[in-house]
Symmetry: C2
Subunit: 396 residues, 2 copies
């Protein structure tokens, strides 16, 4: 059993030694004398939980910076879709590899993805010793049709790839309520329930979607999915920008995971804001995501936390609207709890943690490390990323 | 005459060699055979202009992360002001040194500052071979009074420190229209004109300021300063969040430099947005600034460009509201032109440039380096900062 010792690291404001073995945190104390196979001197480091990026289209690193600053429809129809039509498994591998490196360097070993050929993504996630929910895409309208048959093919291939790798979970990922029929939305949920899968969908992102939903179904998108009995504790809803009070009540009750994607929402001008305070006060579960790189244009969870907090303060004209710790928890603790993945640095837990470099100027001034992580630092502060007890990334 | 050669660097989309000597760009061509004393291999680098951070309170690095997420008034009265009362020249030096390091690593050799003891800041700017407009603070209301007499004392001391260092320029910096009397605002402008100084003031930042101005003077803050003949080509106005159409016309006509501070405005919830598009379309001069670290909480101009562009797109619900190149110019070309500092990489100009690392994942995807700088990269991409022909920063 290989042992890793982190010495003199700041953990919750105190200097500690941390001993890791067999993927788990064996011991935390002021001084651990026990020998180890590998040692990290932590005197300039702080130990913190890892980040979860809960809405991505990872291989879209291929389209970074393509068609920025265009109106949404023109961006999709003239830039993104034509390029997506030319995607191949090989290109997906290339884009995914870049994305995984970006995720790791921002202290994020786990992501919730929705993109083509998840079976290819899975192979790379395993190679990098990371984790994720990989969504099998499913779309019935638009230039690209992913039929039920194609989804099933992808699903069975993906299942085979990940069967001995518990850090990858599978989702069925119907694109949105305006691109997948009511019957297929329901079929996908039934399939997910039967196969013990998550259900990952874009929801209430634009005003056009709300209009569509009300006109076609006479319901808000949230009411519509709720009526179809799709909202539950295995459902992940990306965006949730345009919500009414009744939607918030439903979402809080169903305990689906709501993924706030502030940068993407701002960059695409979706004309609304994820109602963080109201959702949080209603005990809804809030996570954070970067969305795809094409609308961000990176995967830096530290930057995402800052932009997420700033957007709330700006939009509601209140500096006190959201606290650094709340957005930090949306990036760490809340998604971990939702996924039942241990992400608290304590004895007996799986060793999932980052070590951040406190010598950077960004950590000068006050003593609140969470504030500095949210408002001051960027991914550059992440010196080590440890996932399931292994160092999967180290900044030189 | 010491010579520096940058080989094979990407400049405006093409591979070039750049030869620098005596502070200036001696030659740019496909292949320079001439020998040099120092060589940078640029095959993974792109050369771009340097950034100008046009509104800072540099030594406030001391207060980073102190009192985040509090209502504005409580933040100032319970956190910032009590700490500022205890400032000493020694503390100012400590905070400034941290700030200068942060500026350099984000590719920014020049800043426009307003803070206590500018003569101490000046000594450090000279030490670091950087440049700036250092403002002599002047405030008549609040817990800290900086009288005319104190301003004059500071001014003469500062003048002595910078007299042989042309990269530092001096401003008189009355805090705001609600903390400095009408007579003193005018006295400061007269003093600036007589002594060939810039005039740096906070303007139209909060709704309270607009209310104050209209109630006390029957004018908007912009109209008020214009009536006092303070607005001209040597005036720098930080914030300009709450503007009416008539203000925009005045500002465009007077050619004062307007400093957009998006992160600070969002973090403090000032409840409005710098009207970038309307100002730009009126030919007003727009620069970019981080404001003090206490309300940002860093000095990263790359992050500031991204947040600045996102805020416009969000607020006006239009992805096309602002283009990457426009915010990039607000951070580079426009302030440089205003200050008459050469910041274009061409033969004969002063050698002011950054070299950015194109091997980072953030530069993958599309080919538009400006897009990647604005939306994807952070300060981590800056490998070299060259100011007045000297390498003043190099990332290891």
């Amino acid at each position: 059993m290989k042992k890793l010792k982190i010495k003199n690291v700041i953990l919750n404001g105190k200097r500690k030694d941390i001993l890791i073995a067999d993927g788990k945190i064996l011991k935390i104390s002021k001084k651990i004398k026990e020998k180890s196979d590998c040692e990290i001197e932590g005197k300039n480091l702080a130990a913190l939980p890892v980040f979860f990026n809960m809405h991505t289209h990872l291989a879209m690193t291929l389209f970074r910076g393509i068609g920025d600053d265009l109106p949404l429809k023109r961006w999709l129809t003239t830039k993104i879709w034509p390029k997506e039509l030319l995607l191949t498994p090989e290109k997906i591998r290339k884009g995914t590899e870049i994305g995984l490196k970006e995720l790791k360097k921002s202290g994020c070993p786990f992501f919730c993805d929705m993109y083509w050929w998840p079976q290819e993504t899975a192979k790379l996630v395993i190679k990098h010793k990371m984790g994720g929910i990989l969504g099998v895409p499913f779309i019935g309208k638009g230039p690209l049709i992913f039929s039920k048959r194609f989804a099933l093919k992808n699903f069975f291939e993906l299942k085979k790839v990940v069967k001995n790798y518990p850090s990858i979970k599978i989702a069925i990922a119907p694109h949105a309520i305006y691109t997948v029929s009511k019957n297929n939305l329901v079929w996908a949920k039934d399939f997910a329930r039967k196969n013990n899968l998550y259900y990952h969908i874009h929801l209430a992102e634009t005003k056009e979607e709300i209009k569509f939903s009300k006109e076609k179904y006479g319901l808000t998108p949230v009411e519509f999915l709720d009526k179809l009995r799709i909202l539950d504790e295995e459902t992940i809803l990306a965006h949730c920008v345009h919500l009414e009070e009744k939607d918030i009540k439903i979402l809080a009750r169903r305990k689906s995971l709501l993924v706030y994607c502030p940068t993407s929402n701002m960059k695409l001008g979706v004309c609304g804001v994820f109602p963080f305070r109201r959702l949080k006060d209603s005990s809804a579960l809030i996570a954070l995501g970067t969305d795809g790189v094409a609308s961000n244009n990176n995967l830096d969870m530290l930057e995402e936390m800052k932009i997420g907090a700033l957007l709330q303060k700006h939009h509601f004209c209140r500096p006190e609207e959201i606290k650094a710790r709340e957005i930090f928890e949306a990036a760490t603790k809340i998604p971990a709890n939702f996924l039942k993945i241990e992400n608290e640095i304590k004895k007996g837990n799986l060793a999932n943690l980052i070590l951040v470099d406190l010598t950077l100027e960004e950590f000068s001034g006050g003593k609140d490390i969470i504030s500095h992580l949210v408002y001051s630092a960027n991914y550059n502060c992440v010196k080590y990323l440890i996932f399931n007890g292994e160092i999967i990334y180290q900044r030189n």
